[in-house]
């Protein structure tokens, strides 16, 4: 599918160009103050990318994106990942892509980062009723899938997060069934909006945001966008997914953003955009219906929630 939508953002809309160019001074300044050792700053590396399909909305400040995370592998509080994810070693890192395909392969993250990357500013809607606007850097998942030549049996895609309790300390407790797993239908996976992100705000992903690579499916609730991926399998049957295993009544396989289908704990009719005071209305498919609603034609989305 061709997305006919010109990004109407200029470079300056993300971060002021002048400030952006002076980012190293800031890092140097932080180093001068002895702060460089504090996690993300030291390891973030700038990425080369072009501008891609993006929303015109104002991106959420980076500090909020990197300090308010649901990443249970590092703890259940939203501040935990920023505190604990520094331990995760993201090199060496490989992603196995296998299953129903002719050319299964293991990709090295450094090889993937050399792909043609683009920036996509997407809305992210969490099932808990808050949202952000995030300038991701990455490449379409369909490129990765095409590279392994899927067969006709590839009807779903299953994803798996790294399992390493020595660094992912949250995995020492079975708050979910580890490793974290997610899944998409193949047509969702090869949709041009579906992104593998390797960075945000122009730099490599901070660990708490799912380094070194994560999925981003902007029209689904955030938990579908699995982090720190080590394996992607093309499969014939709908794969099990972590939150669905944990509470099947609350988290369906599809989990498309849908203001008409409430979660037992949260109304999904509205959301709070991080940084804003008043709640705003939640849009069907998180506002991406124009491009993705066709995928679900004829389906009862109240039942397939």
């Amino acid at each position: 599918m061709l997305i006919r939508h010109r990004p109407d953002l200029t470079d300056n809309d993300v971060t002021d160009r002048g400030l952006y160019l002076r980012r190293r001074e800031f890092i140097a300044g932080a180093a001068g103050l002895g702060l460089a050792g504090l996690g993300g700053v030291a390891s973030a590396a700038p990425l080369a990318f072009t501008k891609g399909f993006s929303t015109t909305e104002k991106p959420t400040p980076k500090n909020d994106i990197t300090s308010y995370n649901n990443f249970y592998e590092f703890g259940v509080d939203k501040g935990d990942p920023a505190q604990n994810a520094g331990k995760l070693k993201t090199r060496p890192w490989t992603v196995r892509v296998d299953g129903a395909c002719e050319a299964p392969r293991t990709f090295d993250i450094d090889e993937l980062i050399k792909n043609k990357l683009e920036e996509r500013i997407y809305r992210l809607r969490c099932v808990e009723g808050w949202s952000m606007v995030i300038p991701w850097v990455g490449f379409p998942l369909k490129d990765l899938i095409a590279a392994v030549k899927p067969t006709s049996k590839a009807r779903f895609v299953a994803f798996e997060t790294l399992m390493r309790p020595s660094e992912m300390t949250g995995q020492r407790w079975d708050v979910l069934q580890w490793p974290y797993r997610e899944g998409l239908r193949i047509d969702e996976a090869v949709h041009p909006l579906t992104l593998i992100a390797v960075g945000l705000y122009g730099e490599t992903l901070p660990n708490q945001n799912g380094a070194p690579l994560r999925l981003v499916v902007p029209w689904k609730y955030g938990f579908k966008s699995i982090k720190s991926i080590t394996r992607i399998s093309l499969v014939e049957r709908q794969p099990p997914t972590a939150w669905n295993l944990s509470a099947p009544r609350e988290y369906g396989f599809y989990s498309n953003v849908n203001p008409a289908v409430d979660h037992p704990r949260w109304s999904q009719a509205t959301e709070r955009r991080i940084g804003e005071f008043r709640r705003r209305d939640t849009l069907a498919f998180n506002g991406y219906g124009e491009w993705v609603a066709d995928l679900y034609r004829g389906m009862d989305l109240k039942r397939n929630f």
Binding site: D64, Y68, R265
Partner: protein, 254 residues
């Protein structure tokens, strides 16, 4: 706000908290269980010579008593002050409204449990004078819970009463939380000595027995809110179980 009566005693005209002037000697004698000493009865008010040397405890000075009371009051108010300070300095994180609501709720819950812990503590430590703090702590708990609810309705929902009503009907954790609050209101209203007298002690006690319904509702409210890691609400549930279990055990043991 527990069912043990807030000692209207024989001098109901005294207003305010039980201070040194209207509290009895500390602890009761060794020969007498502290539980009995804690129970409001005229018998325990008059120093009993039969108890021998044990009754020679000093009455604490009024100054010391005021200081202790001030310390309790400040301890109860401290989380609120700290929260307000963080709110004004923008230190409540990426989602300050959520943090505010959560923290107010958690502190309300903690103070309710502290309130329930006072009677067992007074009995076990033989410090019946601890009981004078129950009302203060209970009212502080009510204040936190009220602010918790107010910030949910006023700040989170921005007074969208239609949404509030839907939440109450559709979301079990909100249904339970709201029920707990509604039950807590009459307890807060009748917390004064005047109300104890107006109602009579027996009726007042019966009413305040509701706290044994309210706090479990509060814990259930917290439990149902949590997505996956149920350890924190289970800790509160465990503490509640011990506090209620102690009361049952004491009843049965009698």
């Amino acid at each position: 706000m527990t069912n043990e009566v807030e000692h209207p005693r024989s001098s109901p005209v005294k207003r305010g908290r039980w201070r040194a002037a209207d509290t009895q000697r500390d602890g009761g004698g060794e020969g007498q269980s502290a539980a009995r000493a804690a129970a409001p009865s005229t018998a325990s008010r008059s120093p009993s010579p039969a108890r021998g040397g044990g009754a020679r405890r000093k009455r604490p000075s009024k100054t010391r008593d005021n200081l202790v009371y001030a310390a309790v009051w400040l301890a109860c108010a401290a989380p609120l002050v700290w929260l307000a300070f963080r709110a004004f300095t923008g230190d409540l994180g990426a989602n300050p409204i959520e943090t505010l609501i959560r923290q107010l709720g958690v502190w309300g819950m903690r103070l309710l449990l502290v309130g329930l812990a006072i009677t067992p503590a007074a009995v076990i430590l033989r410090k019946p004078r601890l009981l004078r703090f129950r009302r203060t702590i209970g009212l502080f708990a009510f204040a936190y819970v009220s602010l918790h609810l107010l910030s949910y309705i006023g700040v989170d929902l921005y007074f969208d009463f239609g949404q509030l009503w839907k939440d109450i009907l559709k979301r079990p954790f909100i249904t339970l939380g709201m029920a707990a609050f509604v039950l807590l209101v009459p307890l807060a209203v009748t917390s004064t000595n005047g109300w104890v007298i107006r109602m009579g002690r027996a009726a007042w006690s019966r009413l305040h027995w509701l706290i044994y319904v309210i706090v479990p509702l509060g814990v259930a409210h917290y439990y149902l809110l949590v997505k996956a890691d149920h350890r924190p609400p289970l800790v509160y549930a465990g503490i509640l179980a011990v506090l209620l279990g102690w009361r049952v055990w004491r009843k049965v043991a009698k």
